[in-house]
């Protein structure tokens, strides 16, 4: 099923936001201190919420993406302190405004088109919402918090064992049990690949490309059902965050 245009940018934003929160970011220093992805890093707030306007728009844009830890921490603090207004996500709204302002400056300067700017803003807003949403409690009848990670193989094996145990003692319709087992088997087949098997799969794909004399496709050539604007927006965002 093709990924809708907006969903792609939202997912990209959420993914980048999550990675940046985990400190999977370029440090930009000549001899970068090594910060391992997923390694716990003490919280160090970025200075002030108001970004000086004299900073170049590109840097302001980048700063917005690099300050998610501040959004996360302040949202959690406001919630824990019972501060008024945290439900309205004022920090997120401020970040969105700063990001939009930087984008508008880049649009005026002719660096990106308005359409690309809107898509980049879409990605940022999704990341802001995701991070805020992950740090506020649920409310009555609110949709469930869904774990973005797929069920792991171990969990699926456990599910399968539990289902077998239940099936023995209950009178669940056989057709229903067959369907659940089929779903489990499908997921197990997909997720149960070991690292070695995944590598083997990649190796096989590479070999097939090489044997057919074709180059490995670039990002631009991949057959995403994405418009040129979306590709441009995604590439622009990656360039900004990698300092290109």
């Amino acid at each position: 099923m093709p990924v809708p245009r907006r969903n792609f940018m939202q997912l990209l934003g959420i993914s980048l936001g999550s990675m940046l929160l985990a400190r999977c970011q370029r440090t930009g220093t000549p001899e970068p201190t090594f910060v391992m992805c997923y390694e716990a890093v003490p919280y160090t707030p970025m200075p002030g919420t108001a970004t000086p306007t004299r900073i170049a728009a590109l840097d302001r844009l980048r700063l917005c993406w690099l300050r998610f830890d501040e959004l996360e921490q302040k949202t959690a603090d406001a919630r824990d302190n019972g501060d008024d207004g945290w439900e309205d996500n004022p920090i997120g709204a401020a970040r969105n405004a700063e990001h939009r302002s930087a984008l508008d400056a880049l649009i005026i300067a002719g660096r990106i088109t308005a359409a690309v700017g809107d898509l980049v803003q879409e990605a940022f807003s999704a990341a802001v919402y995701h991070i805020w949403r992950s740090n506020v409690p649920m409310t009555c009848y609110e949709p469930m918090m869904i774990d973005y990670a797929p069920a792991g193989a171990a969990s699926l094996v456990r599910q399968s064992d539990t289902l077998a145990e239940i099936a023995e003692g209950a009178t669940i319709a056989p057709d229903t049990l067959t369907k659940v087992r089929s779903a489990l088997e499908h997921d197990l087949a997909y997720y149960a690949l070991t690292d070695a098997e995944v590598q083997a799969l990649f190796d096989q794909l590479l070999k097939e490309y090489q044997e057919s004399g074709k180059e490995i496709p670039s990002f631009e050539e991949l057959e995403f059902t994405l418009t040129p604007d979306v590709k441009a927006a995604a590439q622009f965002l990656l360039d900004v965050l990698t300092g290109k």
């Binding site: 649920m138 409310t139 009555c140 949709p143 869904i146 659940v180 779903a183």
Partner: protein, 350 residues
Amino acid sequence: MTHGRPRIQSLIFEVTQRCNHACLHCYNVWHGADGAPSDYPRGELDTERTLALLGKALDETACSHVTLTGGEPLLRGDLNAILDYLRGRNLPVTIISNGRLLGETAAVECLDRGVGLFELPLLSHQREVHDRLSGAPGAWDSVLEAMANVRLHHGRFAAAFVATRLNIDHAAEVMKLAFAFGAQAVMFNRFNPGGRGRANLDLLLPTADQVRRALAAADTAAGEYGLPVSCSIPIQPCLVDTTAFPHIGFAYCAAGGARAYYALDPIGNLRPCNHAPQILGNLFEESFADLIAPARMKSFVEAGPAFCAPCARRPDCQGGCKAAAQVCFGSLGDEDPFLKMNREFAKIPE
């Protein structure tokens, strides 16, 4: 006239008031306590008018999610048209259903139209208990098949456990069954009287002690299976020390705030939430912003029982569910029935 598009996190759209089950715990505001209809307005619009209503709600708000509920939403013959419309607006959709009509074809049709989550009831691991609470023989088999259908076609569902006196001891077994069927999460909703349910207050409303025991069992199961569990119906911290259950999320009323979940009925009446019988006005006649203006929501937002006045947790807890207090005792400022029943055991947090 209020200007601007209010941001709402989720809109609950009651697409129909019809239902093919007769749950003992049903909170639908159009049901009277004695089994007869209440004086709440009833009706349903045709597809064109329904989409116009939904469109107006979405045009006038910055809404990031829609939940379709009822009644039983799958009784709407034009449900696919509604889903197509929402998909066209790029909105994530949840369907709250009893699962009776969620056969494989219906499940595929919904999933193809972008339904991201189904909330399906799982009231017991025992067929007879689930069927009795649902007021419908065959309900248990149907909902398990519905879960299997969703799962088979790579959809997601959350199992909703309504904790009543009749099934509260089944919480752990329900969690196990939900896990085995591939639930993404479990909602542990203690019975919240309203609609038909208020006639069954004595039969169904659990004690605080029963809820504590069930939560302990659910918490253990949540940890064991790695299954997210949330208590969507408020549980007052003075009755249950919620910090004792680290695997469970506890929720409180969000009415009037940025995370409110306004309920829109099939004919355009807007309410503070799906439990509240109080109609703010009709969306065909006024703008969304006007309907939820602070002046109109004031009585709902500011209400709270006198018992809670000295409590430090009052800003969060708000005394529990005001809608249930209004339905059962006639006033938003009265006590939530769960609080009233268990008040003698309350320990007000400092």
